[in-house]
Symmetry: C2
Subunit: 463 residues, 2 copies
């Protein structure tokens, strides 16, 4: 395969690629708005037709109790070749506030090298580079099929919480069996700093209730002589972190896969402006967190405990001098590679019960089983292959990031039991979920080029 043939194929079809994407972007597939249910279906049908017209032998609409997903399969010629699931979504965010858009969100326009419209970056544009890149790779190779079996899964409910996605995966688990999952729904660090995500933090949540007296007591009559659940809650949650801002629950860090020197070095190479980041963090006035780690390490690769909500006693206007009956808190833990949400839940519950003072009763309620963290090491076969493909396309070093939270990616890793590989060309500046969403057309073409190389790399790497 000649690099030039891939680039030539893509350049030759550039106008058509943009024209087709623009057509798709006119469909307001807002999954969160029931009034747009028919549009989400129309978007799925449009994509299915497009994939059929561009070589995919198998294209299906997969129904859910909500909005439909599109599934397309293009088998490798070699029946023993690895299989790869490619994940994206065809639904989009709402467009309010409309008056902040410079153009109609569903009448996409080109401005210089940018394409502006809802879904241009998140995520229609990023699915679309796959269709072009796949054909470019096949054409350049002189064969009729890709070097790995491609299983493209494009869901229709990502922007409304992927509520039926895990069920969909379980229902089609056999057909989706694969050696890796390529996710194209994240971002790169910057247009001139190509990067790949290598993992996402998991999550487990708990609600803590502390009970003291059976009713609110008059603080004049009883204050200072019976335990106050709000005091107990303050003391409990103050003890949740130690002096180094590490989570004090015993065993919390036991299974954490530590950051490697290579990953820390590569993180450190990212041009990170902490002041700008603080402005983006709601104008936070200072960084804070686990001792010995940088801000990026803290949000991407270290587990945390956060109090998300806390309440009890009199919370309305004016004073009410009571010893309240109950105190409540919602706590969540972000988890990283190696940690098991269920194990953390149990450790936290035991810790709460050990730390409750005499006279206070504790109840820890855990909703659901949490989200497992996902992580593919930089030196893993899949990530190494994708890194080579990205570096070939961009002609420069690829750096690495992680993400602080996770969505349907965790379901993909859990249900399909395959490593995740994040290949994306969106930018943080693409204004996704906001007015005037845009995508850089040259980056979409680079993405197409990267995946043209990627399937070839993975055919070898995953065998």
């Amino acid at each position: 395969m000649q690099v030039n043939e891939v680039v030539a194929y893509i350049q030759a079809r550039k106008e058509r690629f943009v024209a087709d994407l623009k057509e798709w972007l006119t469909i307001p597939s807002i999954s969160g708005d029931p009034a747009h249910a028919a549009d989400v279906r129309r978007s799925a049908d449009w994509l299915a037709d497009h994939l059929r017209g561009h070589g995919f032998p198998t294209v299906e609409i997969w129904e859910t109790p909500g909005h439909p997903a599109v599934y397309a399969e293009w088998p490798a010629e070699d029946p023993d070749a690895p299989a790869v699931v490619v994940y994206g979504h065809h639904d989009v965010q709402p467009v309010e506030p409309l008056d902040e858009w410079d153009t109609d969100p569903f009448d996409p326009v080109e401005r210089g090298e940018q394409l502006i419209g809802r879904g241009a970056s998140d995520d229609k544009g990023q699915i679309f580079f796959h269709t072009l890149g796949l054909r470019a790779g096949i054409a350049a190779s002189g064969r009729q099929a890709p070097p790995v079996t491609i299983k493209l899964l494009v869901e229709g409910e990502e922007e409304s919480g992927s509520v039926h996605f895990a069920d969909l995966l379980w229902a089609h688990r056999e057909r989706l069996s694969c050696d890796a999952v390529v996710i194209s729904d994240t971002t790169m660090w910057a247009a001139d700093v190509p990067s790949m995500c290598t993992g996402m933090r998991g999550l487990t949540e708990a609600e803590v209730t502390l009970r003291g007296p059976s009713r609110d007591l008059h603080s004049g009559s009883f204050g200072g002589a019976v335990p106050n659940p709000l005091h107990a809650m303050a003391e409990l949650l103050a003890a949740l972190h130690d002096a180094d801002n590490r989570v004090a629950v015993p065993g919390f860090y036991d299974d954490v896969v530590p950051l490697t020197d290579e990953e820390r070095t590569l993180f450190a190479r990212l041009p990170f402006d902490e002041d700008e980041w603080l402005r983006g963090a709601g104008d936070s006035r200072a960084t804070h967190g686990e001792k010995g780690y940088t801000t990026l390490e803290r949000i991407w690769a270290r587990p945390t405990a956060e109090i998300n909500g806390m309440w009890g006693g009199h919370t309305g206007p004016g004073g009410k001098t009571i010893v309240p009956s109950e105190a409540h808190a919602k706590v969540s833990f972000r988890l990283v590679a190696g940690q098991d949400p269920r194990k953390i839940q149990m450790a936290f519950e035991a810790w709460v019960n050990e730390h409750v003072p005499p006279g206070i009763e504790a109840d820890v309620d855990v909703p659901g089983s949490g989200v497992r963290p996902c992580f593919s090491p930089i030196d893993s076969a899949g990530v190494s292959a994708a890194r080579r493909a990205m570096e070939r396309a961009f002609g420069t070093d690829v750096l690495f990031t992680r993400e602080g939270g996770s969505g349907p990616e965790a379901d993909l890793a859990d249900v399909l039991e395959a490593p995740l590989i994040f290949v994306a060309v969106g930018l943080n500046g693409d204004r996704i979920h906001a007015p005037n969403e845009k995508v850089e057309i040259p980056l979409l073409l680079k993405g197409a080029e990267a995946v043209a190389y990627l399937w070839e790399e993975l055919a070898t790497a995953l065998r």
Copy 2:
């Protein structure tokens, strides 16, 4: 003066005393219910007529923007005799739930030695023993006037917060000038354990707001790397007490008048059942509080800090994984003899500002100027005189208590700048504020006897 003459006078008028009190108790002077405004006025008029008919040379209705008070004055013969304000209230609590009353709350009935009806103990009965006792003392002395000038002030809004009482005191401050204030609106320890209150705790309140990011942040993207105001609040409030459960605000205890050995010894003589007290404290499971003090000392004579309310972040159903923008808490301090609410407010505000971590902004809002504690030492002239009077009436040792909170008593002490003397014969078992309120008629008569002696004792003690 012969003791027997006082007792004889009271015994001879016992039936009439009860009959008159019953008549007054038929008036539903519920100050908290606007529908009963005319009844509160009728109650004031009834009392004024009664006082005029029983010897008071001066009786006035004092208007307020709410319900009227009754003022009656009976000057001593000797123009240089001390003056004493006697405080009580003629309004009563609502009677709901009505179906838990065995009898009509405003159709008082005698059952054995008990008189049952709303206001029988709190506070009409306790005002009424004064009118009988004053006349008994005068009659027994063979004179035409009391040995001290009596200034009876009976307010009509105590059960609805005494909202206009301080203004009323300021408006009539000259006429109310006095050497002591006798309060008859508290309780004794038990029918067979006569006791006197010697002080009430003061109060100051504050609302603390801690601010972090300007908006709630996604805890996946930012959690663990910026300060969380709820964590800061938990740490702040956990630090409010030290390991001995003493308030950690510097200077908090500087001005506290310590408990004397005598008061501690007398407190310890009270037959206190801690298990029963815990049941009354909303079935609290354990006592708690400042190291080195008993439960009674903690609630009566030691200052405290209580969190009355705390809130921030997501407090509704389900999870919301955020780093919240703000955290709030309402804190109040019960203060004891010697402490100045304003000084404590300033010390707390300074302490909060010193303890706020980097990146968090604190705001301490202090509503009003607080309530000063009031306290009359056991060996003070007024309390000693009242102790002698009570011991003469009850024929046994009088013990001492304090109260954990305060109402209009603090205003009386502050505005009139006179020591308070608590003389009361109500019991904790009188079911005040509850269905089937009652009073022990023999205790009302003992109260009358005690104040007959009291004025004589005070005439000497306060001179």
